[in-house]
Symmetry: C2
Subunit: 344 residues, 2 copies
């Protein structure tokens, strides 16, 4: 099974997703700051994977705290959490995982510092394992909506690489395949970071699931031509009303899907649903470095002196979403109610 | 004035648009086959520029025919026309320009072969000059629709580089600037060939018109955010009913513009309107080489063994088009009537 991250010998190993599909390089994170840096520069990306990484980073940081005093220990944990939380603003799983680690640390407060440290490592590993189990459950729910023979469009990479393993949107694809359905995937290349062309194509091809790459601007054409039966994407944050932030371009795909009467699903674990974000308007949209637009594989593609814009995410209003696939089932409109019910 | 093509000393010079914005290299075409090759590999591209190039290629070919016999001369012209016409299928200006050159050759049939040759060169130069004049007229009509202070979204390059000079869609922008309006352009980078990031950005920056590059998948986001007041694109072929073929991705922009109540204009000379193509369904869509998707600046971006699709154009149904800007004015729905009237 493809996994983007592993806890091994009290270090965190990450498959360097900046280098895929050209090289399969594993980076070793020895400190929580290494993990933070890897999150920021997108060695690892994808909301659930960021959550797993943050949890492991927190555990790594906790282990390294050199103090017997508990007040100092908890103070240091606070600093570690703040540092990890400041790396990327949009994916709520980052904050969700850190909050969960913090609650665990508090719950273990009566134990010794070394026992708390061990408990935090165990919690990070549990978050990782649960994420995979959640994705499998999500996949089973989502697969019911996939017609046999379907061509499925996806945007960005919401696959094994974006999660603890198995994937959210690609988990739905994998579950459909496991259920005996014949499906194929059209992968938007997903500029600028090319998560579709590099990562989705790589992991599906590795798993023997038929995948074809298109440029982002072709999705509308193939939807219009009737070549796509279903769209499924991941999410970085789902607001309480079902508005969903995901990789830039997702909104466009959603509009084009509805215009052509093709169902559009968001697949995301409940940890991506943020009850404290009432609507999409409240989701902070990360602005990433210009260089990710102006350069591809270190070669400049734009003229000198011409500015670029780089919002890394957009928000798809709930009215374009046919259903939100979670580990608890498929939520449908009105999401404010269906998601709240699943939250309970 | 930026021009992509020149007739000089009985040779055709072309600015190599594959190399922009990194190098301004002029290629010399000595034979009609050189011109044909340059059209095919996109040294020159853009429907009106392809038309100008084809006319010059035809004249170049005519000049090189070594026969005093008129039957042989006209037979050779037929072969030249067929070869030039077979290079790219979608832009109708290619066929329009070659038909016009053929009619000219027939009209001059009573003259000597050397006089016919001279007449064909003159006709090719006339097509070039007329194209620029047409673009200026189109620009004036289109500029009336541009609000002062507007941010204008464009897709691909329908600029000076895509025409004899001045541009169609970018002609509208230039005319708005000349009319004293303060405008700025958002340029879709336009994968895979990056005509927006490379060419539109280059020529507007050179002319001092503010331009910012975005990836194709950001256009919807900025339309939704209210950051764009008008969309204007070129066309490779406009059917009699107003359906318009243009660079892949145009259809998506049109749908997203309508969804957000932003006017969407197509700017194209009457030579791009094809009365023999009843609707968009009859427009042949060129499929271009995989390598243009899988590689950027000679570096591979996709995994080995994963297929890609590469339709180079899509068709925007007339219902998404606010108006078609031509040198005769702005046609509006129903286009079957407004375009026919302009044709007369």
């Amino acid at each position: 099974m493809i996994k983007p991250i592993e806890w091994r010998d009290n270090q965190v190993l990450m498959l360097d997703q900046r280098k895929l599909p050209w090289r399969e390089t594993w980076l070793t994170c020895r400190t929580y700051k290494d993990v933070a840096q890897c999150i920021r520069v997108m060695v690892i990306r994808g909301a659930p994977a960021i959550g797993v990484a943050a949890a492991m980073g927190y555990a790594l940081g906790a282990r390294a705290i050199r103090t017997a005093g508990k007040y100092r220990f908890y103070e240091a944990l606070g600093l570690i959490k703040a540092h990890l939380a400041s790396q990327r603003p949009t994916a709520v799983n980052l904050f969700w995982a850190l909050d969960r680690m913090e609650r665990t640390a508090q719950a273990l407060a009566d134990l010794s510092v070394s026992e708390i440290k061990a408990g935090l490592v165990a919690e990070a590993l549990a978050i990782h394992e649960e994420d995979i189990a959640i994705n499998r459950a999500m996949g089973r729910h989502g697969a019911e909506r996939v017609p046999d023979g379907a061509t499925i469009l996806t945007h960005c990479n919401a696959g094994a690489l974006a999660t603890g393993g198995y994937g959210t949107a690609l988990g739905v694809v994998r579950a459909a395949v496991e259920a005996g359905k014949k499906v194929q995937v059209l992968a938007d290349e997903t500029r600028p970071f090319l998560q579709g062309a590099r990562l989705t194509a790589w992991e599906l091809h590795k798993d023997g699931i038929p995948v074809t790459i298109i440029t982002d601007n072709m999705a509308g054409h193939f939807l219009k031509e009737g070549r796509i039966q279903l769209v499924v994407v991941g999410a970085d944050r789902v607001a309480a009303n079902g508005d969903a932030a995901n990789k830039i371009g997702t909104y466009s795909v959603a509009v084009l899907a509805r215009e052509n009467q093709v169902p559009f699903y968001v697949a995301a674990p409940m940890s991506t649903v943020d009850p404290h974000t009432p609507t999409g308007a409240a989701i902070p949209i990360e602005v990433r470095p210009d260089r990710e637009i102006t350069h591809i594989r270190d070669r400049q593609i734009t003229p000198d002196g011409v500015p670029v814009l780089h919002p890394a995410f957009d928000v798809t209003p709930n009215r374009y979403i046919t259903g939100i696939v979670t580990e608890k089932g498929v939520a449908e409109a009105p999401y404010i109610q269906s998601l709240a019910k699943m939250m309970d």
